[in-house]
Symmetry: C2
Subunit: 181 residues, 2 copies
């Protein structure tokens, strides 16, 4: 049995569907350290989760690296989201022609011996206005490269087939399959 330390039951459903194994939610109060490097943040967090649970556990995290801002806000995107959501980020970017964004999703898994990191990177653009209704967070303003639609316009199914989190979970799945085969 794998534990997923998260407060979001939707994420557990998604991970279960992709990984194809039963997953149990572990709602823990975990701290995250301040660091622009999301791998460092996640390694510490999953180790803390394991120390509490004493069972194999994984976490996920995401960083939003805006090129015009030299990579800011990275892991702090969630605080920008809480502060003013998409409208605020659009306003802050209003004068920027460079709309490039790198979204880095990460799954960190601790089996007690080692921490394994699986990343998914998505290159895209920040839209000039919010479009679409599905999803959450910055979904209405993120246009993956090669797509004409924002995450929020393309709908959950299509988003989940190509998202940054999907890429990370797929790598995690391959790893798990190797362990059990």
């Amino acid at each position: 049995m794998l534990y997923f330390a998260t407060g979001n039951p939707e994420k557990v459903k998604e991970a279960q569907a992709i990984l194809g194994i039963p997953i149990k939610i572990a709602e823990l109060e975990l701290d995250e350290i301040q660091d622009i490097d999301i791998e460092k943040v996640a390694s510490r967090k999953v180790q803390e989760a394991f120390n509490i649970l004493k069972k194999p556990v994984f976490i996920d995290d995401v960083g939003v690296y805006i090129e015009a801002w030299n990579g800011f806000p990275g892991p702090f995107a969630k605080f920008l989201q809480e502060a003013g959501g998409c409208a605020q980020i659009l306003r802050m970017l209003e004068n920027e022609k460079n709309r490039n964004v790198l979204i880095k999703s990460l799954v960190a898994f601790c089996d007690g011996k080692k921490i394994h990191i699986f990343t998914g990177e998505l290159h895209g653009k920040i839209a000039f206005d919010a479009r679409g209704k599905t999803g959450w967070g910055f979904d209405p303003i993120i246009i993956p490269d090669g797509q004409g639609q924002t995450y929020a316009e393309m709908g959950k199914e299509k988003k989940n087939s190509l998202s940054h989190r999907r890429l990370a979970l797929d790598k995690f799945k391959k790893f798990l399959n190797k362990q059990t085969s």
Copy 2:
């Protein structure tokens, strides 16, 4: 003997001058947790410092709360500073008429029994362009309310007489004087 856990010897000199007692620098690798509440961040950090040193120790921290951004970036201002400095923040704020900013400085002191927090708040404006040469960080774009000059224009002495950090250190001094009297 008091320890000041910081990597900045300039801050030690300033604190020594204000507090009027000998202070020893403690260069520790301390993590900071991700939280928009600077008091929470500082409490955890000073406790960690005490756990390592086992001696009375204080730290300082600062948050920059921009009103037009609903308080963002707060404690994450240092990462914005690293990403692109004053030029970047000015560009991000280019369309904002509301230039109000709250700068919150904080001294957290752990005597082994308890954590004491001393805060200094400065209300000001973000300038429309960088001005002045002294100081560091956001000094060229911060105009304290009631002043016509930026921190960087007024020079070190004047800045230190009214700065947010000064206010916090003054409160800490009063506290220390009470302890020894």
